[in-house]
């Protein structure tokens, strides 16, 4: 397998998509969507990061081993977030003695 060389057009399109998504996220920040603001903001950030990882970092054309490393690093990160927040966000739910 030889090196996959992406075209200048691909890189430019990804760049433009990232700029457009940045503009959208700034615009949406000024709208009052309640709790949806955070959802939209994080969805856009994840979309931007995914574009960078897949195309600028060449994961779309990488070996399965590298894809595995990328996915598992995300998995461990989310595991850390999920377990910690499931503790902090639920502490007020029950009147546990000694809290």
């Amino acid at each position: 397998m030889s090196v996959h060389v992406s075209s200048v057009k691909t890189y430019t399109l990804i760049f433009l998509a990232l700029m457009v998504l940045t503009a959208i996220t700034v615009f949406v920040a000024y709208l009052d969507l309640g709790a949806l603001n955070n959802v939209v903001m994080l969805t856009i950030a994840v979309a931007k990061a995914t574009l960078v990882v897949l195309f600028f970092m060449h994961v779309a054309h990488a070996t399965k081993l590298i894809k595995l490393v990328v996915v598992s690093s995300m998995f461990w990160l989310l595991l850390m977030f999920a377990f910690t927040m499931s503790d902090y966000l639920t502490r007020g739910w029950l009147g546990v003695a000694g809290k």
Binding site: V5, W76, F81, Y88
Partner: protein, 221 residues
């Protein structure tokens, strides 16, 4: 498989392809631990933001959304020039590698200069956490206690500070790469260094992609 004469092929690899794959994999494993390093700070952010939502909104309002958005665009631009630099190295275009490395260097430096002005503004307004910290809240933020405000600015400086530190390391590494790039050391057979550095630079860009909305854009309406 004894391509002993090939320049740039280390003796413990069978081929350039194997060497390249190993370098990429090693870089990705390094980035995985970088993700966990920044992840800890993002987690602290989540815990404290869920506890003191108003302080985080007040702090976010104090940050300059224009400078933040400008820096986001600068950093995305630098990711484009870096990606094109790696492409030039893959194709063995010596002058293009140098050109794109210099463009990336300039954009990275612009980011750091803007960051410097943002930091000095916070210094002037007594927003450095510690003994002399004092946040002047206006309107609905007048009642926000100083403690949670210090937590917000501590997180702000820790997260953007470590991000800026990564940028400074990146800028130094580009300076280090300019000479071999000019000498034509980065060829289609031997561009691991540029490619590995590109992965690092894009990773730093991704950290900012999350920092910008989480710090600058909360509760703006």
């Amino acid at each position: 498989m004894s391509d002993v004469a090939h320049p740039g092929l280390a003796h413990h690899f069978e081929s350039y392809e194997q060497q390249r794959q190993s370098a990429s994999l090693g870089m990705w494993v390094f980035l995985a631990q970088e993700i966990m390093f920044f992840g800890g700070m993002f987690l602290a952010y989540m815990v404290y933001r869920s506890r003191y939502p108003l302080a985080f909104i007040a702090g976010s309002h104090h940050l300059d959304i224009g400078l933040g958005a400008f820096n986001t665009a600068v950093l995305i631009g630098s990711s484009l020039t870096m990606a094109l630099g790696v492409r030039a190295a893959q194709l063995g275009r010596r002058k293009a590698v140098v050109l794109f490395l210099i463009l990336t260097l300039i954009l990275g430096s612009i980011f750091l200069v803007v960051k410097y002005f943002e930091y000095s503004e916070k210094w002037d307004h007594h927003l450095i956490p510690g003994k002399h910290f004092h946040f002047e809240g206006e309107g609905k933020f007048a009642e926000v206690p100083q403690g949670p405000m210090q937590i917000f600015f501590s997180l702000y400086f820790a997260m953007t500070g470590f991000h800026a530190l990564h940028m400074i390391v990146g800028v130094i590494l580009i300076l280090y790469m300019l000479r071999p790039a000019w000498q034509g050391k980065y060829t289609p057979e031997n561009h691991n260094y540029v490619e590995g550095f590109g992965l690092y630079w894009h990773f730093v860009d991704i950290v900012w992609i999350f920092l910008f909305p989480l710090l600058y854009l909360i509760g703006r309406h």
